[in-house]
Symmetry: C2
DNA sequence: GTAAACTATGGAGTATAGTCCAGAGTCAAG
DNA sequence: CTTGACTCTGGACTATACTCCATAGTTTAC
């Protein structure tokens, strides 16, 4: 698929896609060039961009992602390190879930306070 | 307390506190001026800044916060609207929690995949 | 075969949320 | 009464992640 089709599928702009490429988050694994120079994306591109979104919600910056992808793809990271990485991320997600549950409590209390003042 | 004490208590810089004031998120309710012009903060300032942090984790921008605070404090918002507001935020928090749980699943699957490849 | 729509590139511009700085006044300790 | 720490203001600067633009080549539909 060409860039605008990919953009539409993901609900982002073509500029954003080219920007991710410039930042090293998309490469030849995710697309090839047509004879005219147009980018032709494959399904991996969709997965990669969804992964970027997921990482962003975890607070990972694009710079961190591209550095990390480089290391990951160059196999400079051992399986054990990868395990540690994922487990750290899981712990981080758990912390966020806790924080959100606290936030939920806080908001529910606000609703209760409103009722009291009526 | 003066600005550096407040900053230290909250783990932020004095610049950030003055910046929040410039953005309308802190006002006379949270501090007064000493004769020399120095800001003297009260306990409400701590609560307000903690509230700002909470709102930020919900993705609320400072601009939205200050607009909202204006409306809220001018009592332009009815109790019913406030209830609706909080319930919307609760729904948003629930969505985030769902997203994080999905993320958790995804990460756990990655760990399982690592084990398979060993 | 031409107009509309799409794509490419490089570079400039934007929004958000700070962060830093210069120049100047204030305060507390010795 | 001076030195060092703190505070003030206004404004310039920064990082991140886009977003827009000019210019130019390509494709598609009629």
């Amino acid at each position: 698929m060409r860039i605008s089709e990919l953009a539409e599928k993901l609900g982002i702009s073509t500029d954003t896609i080219r920007y991710y490429e410039k930042r090293g988050l998309l490469n030849h694994h995710h697309m090839e060039r047509e004879d005219n120079g147009y980018r032709r994306y494959n399904e991996k591109a969709i997965e990669r961009i969804r992964l970027i979104f997921r990482a962003k919600t975890l607070g990972v910056t694009l710079a961190e992602m591209s550095q990390f992808i480089d290391e990951w793809e160059s196999e400079a990271i051992s399986v054990e390190d990868k395990r540690i990485f994922f487990n750290n991320k899981i712990a981080l997600v758990d912390k966020r879930i806790d924080a959100l549950n606290q936030m939920r409590e806080y908001l529910c209390q606000k609703v209760i306070d409103l009722e009291k003042n009526e």
